[in-house]
């Protein structure tokens, strides 16, 4: 056996850059403030720190896996390149007209988000395909050359090409790309039939433009990063985490940077999936709650749920429709504006509302004593006894409960005739209910019943709220793993190499053509495999096949997973049976006598994920030593309880503590309500479970 490789995981987040080094001696991790001007600086700083801690030379690192919010932030902050769009004549304004609807029905002063490219950077050419890919108006090469010369004169750095129905016939887009390569060799080109070959022009064009818009920035950053790492002696291959939860090569990332959007949270989901595998859990709800948002993701059989479209840069209270759609394979997460810093107020109906407005770190919640006078979730947590005022963030930020009470009284208590505790209870219940509702809706959309799920909680605020969320969702167990503060970066090290290819090709089941399906799958498989192959020339690559099916006339297709055998020998009857079974799971009953069609085809080529070793059972070793008791409010019964205080370092494997209890550590506190107990597994993971579930 060769020695286990030394690998580095790097996650650039909005505030911190997390760096994790895994080596034969264990794991070293650090957090460095993100350096916006040159993000690679923070990485190098972190690299030095973890190498020093582990006693490992940079040259000994065999692989670096990187994920980043830089792509997302460039879209949100509109810091992209000077970019032009070439589109079909008559359709110049697709990305500006959006869905022609208002995402908030009752606001007369609604402002729609600005399109990524203003109207004068959107150009058209005479050409047209029909819905089957037939040419209605041929594209004239001379006209393209004239247009490209105009773009060259205007000095564009990057050009997006999005033509109608190009997902079924890409010939015109390819011709334009060819002319661009000839006449604007320095400009970067993104064509929609490559970036996102899916039907629905608004989503496809927007995704392609987003790719073009951030491409120069990301390409230059990735190039600099590789050079800096090499200069530090870390000349090993660098790979990128993508939004679908896999890893791709640096070259692919530079070509399709839009696939890096949300790669950090995707790492978090992979982290949770790995914990799930170690603990032998088939159905997991991952719950990541930080300072401003909470993210929820479903994990089945070790795989996070994926989707084909999502929305970034929401401009209006995280409201659906207020951002821009990106159609790429992505880990399907619900993000809501609920974090430790989320602020509360009382609306005109006397209802307590929490978030999405956040106190941030400055001024922060009222209890930070930095001038914040509005109650945040952290203030409620403090008043309810979930946090120790003298030991927050390892004692580095002293908390002032009186300031919390004053803020709660002023904003909530005085309005509703509640004392500060009841106001805190109401605030915490509302934020927990908001998160529970989001989880429920997400589960229903996926046809899942959460009561047989286990939660995995990470992120600073999650362990404070996870148990109450479980009570609300009827979930019996919640795992709080170690290293939760750098979960995404650890997740990167667990991710497989992968690339998902998608195609929109309509096929009615009555016209099912097995030969065509075999050819299509083979083409897509070789495309997806080539991407993975570019990461590793020798590794074994597997392919997962999916078809998205619906009844003819429906607008929403559901994913139907195929086994390798079913994909290799496609058969209409089998496909139909699979579809009906999945449809029934989702919506209760099939619709008799309706034609069924396949709309989208998907092949995900990937290596096997690092095989997580199942943990050994650990024998119960009795209750951990308690360092006294403190007041803890129990929201389920609405009463105060006396909770045992247990230090996490005293929760040796096999140790337990009975709720009500608080398990304290430097980064956060794990709340164990009266209905639950907590048990430490051999890997240090805390298992907060109902007393009935515990043996």
């Amino acid at each position: 056996m060769p020695p286990p490789p030394i690998r580095l995981g790097v996650d650039i987040g909005g505030t911190f850059t997390d760096v994790v080094l895994e080596h034969p001696g264990g794991r070293a991790s650090t957090k460095v403030l993100t350096t916006y001007a040159a993000p690679e600086d923070a990485i190098i700083e972190g690299l030095h720190r973890v190498c020093a801690e582990a006693g490992v030379a940079a040259g000994a690192i065999s692989q670096i896996i990187h994920g980043t919010t830089l792509a997302t932030n460039a879209l949100i902050e509109r810091r992209g390149a000077r970019t032009a769009l070439i589109t079909t004549q008559g359709f110049r304004d697709v990305i500006e007209m959006r869905t022609e609807s208002r995402f908030e029905q009752y606001d007369l002063n609604l402002t729609l988000p600005e399109p990524l490219l203003p109207r004068n950077r959107r150009y058209t050419v005479a050409e047209r395909m029909d819905a089957q890919g037939g040419v209605l108006i041929p594209l004239d090469r001379g006209a393209v050359e004239a247009l490209v010369d105009e773009l060259a004169r205007a000095g564009y750095e990057s050009v997006a090409v999005g033509l109608l129905h190009s997902y079924v016939n890409d010939a015109h887009e390819r011709l334009i790309a060819e002319v661009l390569a000839e006449r604007m060799p320095d400009a970067m080109v993104s064509i929609s039939s490559e970036v996102s070959p899916q039907m629905r022009e608004y989503e496809r064009f927007n995704t392609t433009i987003a790719n073009a818009y951030i491409k120069p920035l990301m390409k230059s950053y990735l190039g600099r990063l590789r050079a800096r790492l090499a200069a530090e002696g870390a000349g090993c291959p660098v790979f990128l985490m993508h939004s679908g939860g896999g890893i791709m090569s640096l070259e692919s990332a530079a070509e399709f940077p839009v696939r890096l959007v949300e790669s950090g949270p995707a790492g978090g989901a992979i982290f949770a999936a790995d914990i799930a595998a170690r603990h032998g859990l088939d159905r997991v709800l991952s719950f990541d709650m930080g300072g401003t948002t909470a993210k929820i993701c479903l994990i089945r059989g070790g795989m996070p749920k994926t989707a084909r479209v999502f929305e970034v840069a929401r401009t209006y209270r995280f409201k659906k429709g207020s951002g821009m759609p990106i159609s790429i394979p992505v880990i399907d997460m619900v993000e809501i504006g609920a974090g430790g810093g989320s602020l509360a107020h009382v609306d005109s109906m006397g209802q307590i509302r929490v978030g999405p407005e956040s106190a941030g770190s400055e001024p922060g919640p009222a209890c930070y004593g930095r001038g914040g006078d509005r109650p945040a979730v952290t203030d409620a947590d403090l008043v309810l006894g979930k946090l120790d005022p003298g030991n927050f963030a390892g004692g580095s930020i002293p908390l002032d409960p009186d300031a919390s009470r004053a803020a709660l009284d002023a904003a909530i208590g005085d309005r509703l005739g509640m004392d500060a505790t009841e106001a805190a209870w109401g605030l915490a219940e509302v934020v927990d209910e908001n998160m529970a509702n989001a989880a429920r809706v997400h589960a229903v959309e996926n046809g899942e019943d959460l009561s047989d799920y286990t939660m995995i909680a990470f992120g600073g605020a999650a362990p404070l709220h996870a148990a109450r969320l479980c009570e609300k969702l009827g979930i019996d167990r919640c795992l709080v793993p170690e290293g939760a503060g750098v979960g995404s970066a650890i997740g990167f090290l667990r991710a497989p190499f992968s690339f998902e290819a998608n195609r929109s090709v309509f096929m009615r089941m009555s016209e099912f053509d097995a030969g065509f399906v075999r050819t299509l799958f083979a083409e897509m498989e070789s495309e997806a495999t080539a991407f993975v192959r570019s990461c590793d020339a020798a590794v074994e690559i597997r392919s997962d096949h999916k078809v998205y099916m619906r009844y003819s006339g429906q607008g929403w297709e559901i994913p139907v997973a195929l086994t390798p055998e079913q994909a290799a020998a496609p058969d209409a009857a089998t496909f139909l049976d699979l579809f009906e079974a999945d449809y029934t799971t989702l919506f209760g009953r099939p619709v008799a006598g309706m034609e069924v069609e396949i709309v989208v085809w998907s092949v995900n080529a990937h290596t096997d994920a690092a095989i997580a070793e199942r943990l050994g059972e650990v024998a119960p070793a009795g209750d951990a030593a308690s360092g006294g008791r403190r007041d803890l409010f129990d929201p389920a019964s609405g009463t105060r309880t006396q909770a045992a205080i247990v230090a996490r370092r005293d929760m040796a494997p096999g140790r337990a503590a009975q709720g009500p209890a608080v398990v304290t550590e430097a980064e956060t506190t794990v709340i164990v309500p009266r209905s639950r107990e907590v048990f430490a597994h051999s890997d240090g993971t805390l298992d907060v479970r109902t007393k009935e579930t515990a043996r």
């Binding site: 008559g90 029909d130 006397g350 019964s637």
Partner: protein, 569 residues
């Protein structure tokens, strides 16, 4: 769960109210995911709500259809009366498309399901969706009475104790053009109520509720109080609003008198034109919905819709006006008039509460339905086929007191347009153009939103009828406080043959229908518009050099400089 406590805490009630709003959103989402008609699944033309045992609406999903607001609130009462509370059993599902007891035309199917908990009737779920076809003459203006507009389903049972009525399905199938699609939609409607019901029962178990009485009182009391506080804060008074629009046979005058009192707001539509012989008449329930929606947006936008928050808005109209049409008036396109209701209300409200409401906008959606068939003037190619294609589109919205109008964005309706690529998959239709219409926004200190161009034809070998549903051909949106009118609707064939804004019209093989949808009106004096905003409009091509010169007095040199900047990208 613990036994129910006698006094439920305020915190528990807050949580349950939240939960019920989440439940109806989930119910609506399930409908979008399972529906067949593009109007539901792509455009979001649907509603969903939950009711207490006496039929009072407790929560309604916020969907794209303000027109369903009051209609949904009233509908369950009609079902209780017609079906009979005592005959209701677990697993029952009822339905109707009655325009007067549902939501205003036969194309909206409303489905109501009773909710039982531990053997007791504790509430109802209702949902409504706009389906593409119900037979008759098809979706359009052309009928002379509601009898010609399609199949009428009185309030009746769809399923009894879970058993679907096969006779009803057979009758439905035999009377509509797309039977699979409609029957699929009926199932989708029933399913979405079932999902809401399941979630409600889970909530009741969690909180140990035997019925909805306590939470119902909490929701309605707080909503009523909040709404009344808003109204009490307004200056009392009365003002009249007026708007003239195209109509069908003759132009229509919409007139409303809005009166703010201490504890209610009255909207009286006396003086409005009489009914039209063709299908643009509006049942009162739909007028109520849009009047109420307009007032809520302006006065109490964040208070959710329920029986109590809607109550203080009283809407009346004399019988036999176009906004209170009686059976058997044709009503298929009631939305064309109904969508003009808010701007008429705002004309009155602007006199009572200045600087609050927008200038007039495009108002009604710019919809059309295309009926395609193999060409009949010559041999049609193999593979030519029939298809019905409905599209929803929007003109510009009116400028606001401090903001420009929104380009090609629906108001008051909130439905979405369909992607062109999806529309062209439905049938052999070709959308040759769908883009913004420069210069169509009315000039003002704040500019009206732009309308859009849309060109429609058919694939080789097909001809079609287009059923147009357009207004504002002769009556463009009017500006406020010196703002200019938006551009009117234009519709004509590409060979110059003029077409009408409303009605089914034949388009021969090879011809294209060119449409320009109206812009929103401006707000305030165009001379007061910020120079940078004018320069930006010109640089982006929202306005032309001519418009900048004529409306804002820009000099030629200034224009040349701005346009040169545009060339440079």
């Amino acid at each position: 769960m613990n036994a129910a406590k006698p006094e439920r805490s305020q915190v528990a009630h807050q949580v349950m109210w939240n939960r019920m709003i989440s439940i109806v959103e989930e119910q609506a989402q399930a409908l979008v995911r399972t529906a067949f008609s593009t109007s539901v699944r792509e455009a979001g033309d649907l509603s969903a709500g939950v009711y207490d045992a006496s039929g009072r609406m407790l929560a309604q999903a916020v969907t794209g259809t303000p027109g369903h607001v009051n209609a949904m609130a009233d509908a369950v009462g009609h079902f209780i009366r017609r079906i009979g509370r005592d005959t209701m059993e677990e697993g029952d599902v009822y339905l109707t498309n009655d325009p007067w007891e549902g939501t205003g035309h036969l194309h909206d199917i409303t489905v109501v399901s009773p909710s039982f908990h531990e053997g007791r009737l504790i509430g109802f779920f209702a949902c409504t969706a706009h389906v593409t076809d119900v037979g008759g003459r098809g979706f359009g203006v052309d009928a002379n009475s509601v009898y010609e507009e399609g199949l009428y389903i009185p309030i009746m049972r769809f399923a009894t104790r879970g058993e679907v009525d096969r006779t009803l399905l057979a009758i439905v199938r035999g009377n509509v053009r797309e039977p699979d699609q409609l029957v699929g939609d009926l199932y989708a409607l029933a399913t979405c109520n079932e999902i809401g019901h399941r979630r409600l029962i889970e909530m009741m178990r969690e909180f140990g509720l035997a019925d909805l009485a306590g939470i119902s009182d909490f929701i309605l009391t707080n909503s009523r109080r909040a709404t009344l506080e808003r109204i009490a804060a307004l200056p009392p008074g009365s003002a009249e609003g007026h708007m003239r629009i195209d109509g069908y046979s003759t132009p229509i005058d919409l007139r409303v008198k809005v009166t703010i009192e201490a504890d209610r707001i009255l909207s009286d539509w006396s003086g409005t034109s009489g009914p039209d012989p063709k299908g643009i008449n509006v049942p009162l329930v739909y007028t109520k919905a849009y009047s109420c929606y307009a007032l809520k947006c302006a006065i109490a936008p964040e208070i959710p819709n329920n029986a109590a928050s809607l109550e203080p808005f009283e809407i009346t109209a004399p019988e036999n006006t176009i906004v209170n049409a009686r059976h058997p008036a044709p009503v298929a396109l009631r939305h064309v008039i109904g969508h003009m209701v808010p701007d008429t209300v705002y004309d009155a409200l602007d006199r009572l509460l200045p600087d609050l409401v927008p200038a007039e906008g495009a108002g009604s959606l710019c919809n059309f339905q295309v009926s395609l068939r193999p060409r009949t003037d010559a041999a049609a190619p193999d593979g030519a086929r029939r298809a019905e294609v409905l599209t929803f589109n929007s003109g510009g919205s009116g400028a606001r007191p401090t903001l420009d109008g929104m380009n090609a964005t629906a108001f008051p309706s909130g439905v979405m347009t369909m992607p062109v690529e999806a529309t062209e998959q439905v049938g052999p239709v070709l959308i040759w153009r769908k883009e913004l219409r420069p210069d169509s926004g009315g000039a003002g200190r704040q500019r009206g939103g732009l309308g859009q161009f849309m060109d429609v034809g058919a694939r080789e070998g097909h001809e079609f009828d287009i059923s147009a549903m357009l207004d504002r051909v002769d009556h463009p949106a009017r500006g406020r406080r010196g703002g200019q009118s938006g551009a009117p609707t234009i519709i004509a064939r590409d060979d110059g043959v003029p077409m009408r804004g409303k009605g089914r019209q034949f388009v021969p093989h090879g011809r294209i229908v060119r449409m320009a949808f109206p812009g929103g009106a401006g707000y305030g004096d165009p001379a007061a518009r910020d120079r940078a905003a004018i320069a930006r409009d010109l640089a982006l091509g929202y306005i032309s050099a001519d418009y900048a010169r004529a409306q804002h007095g820009l000099e030629d040199q200034e224009i040349a400089e701005i346009l040169a900047g545009r060339e440079r990208g």
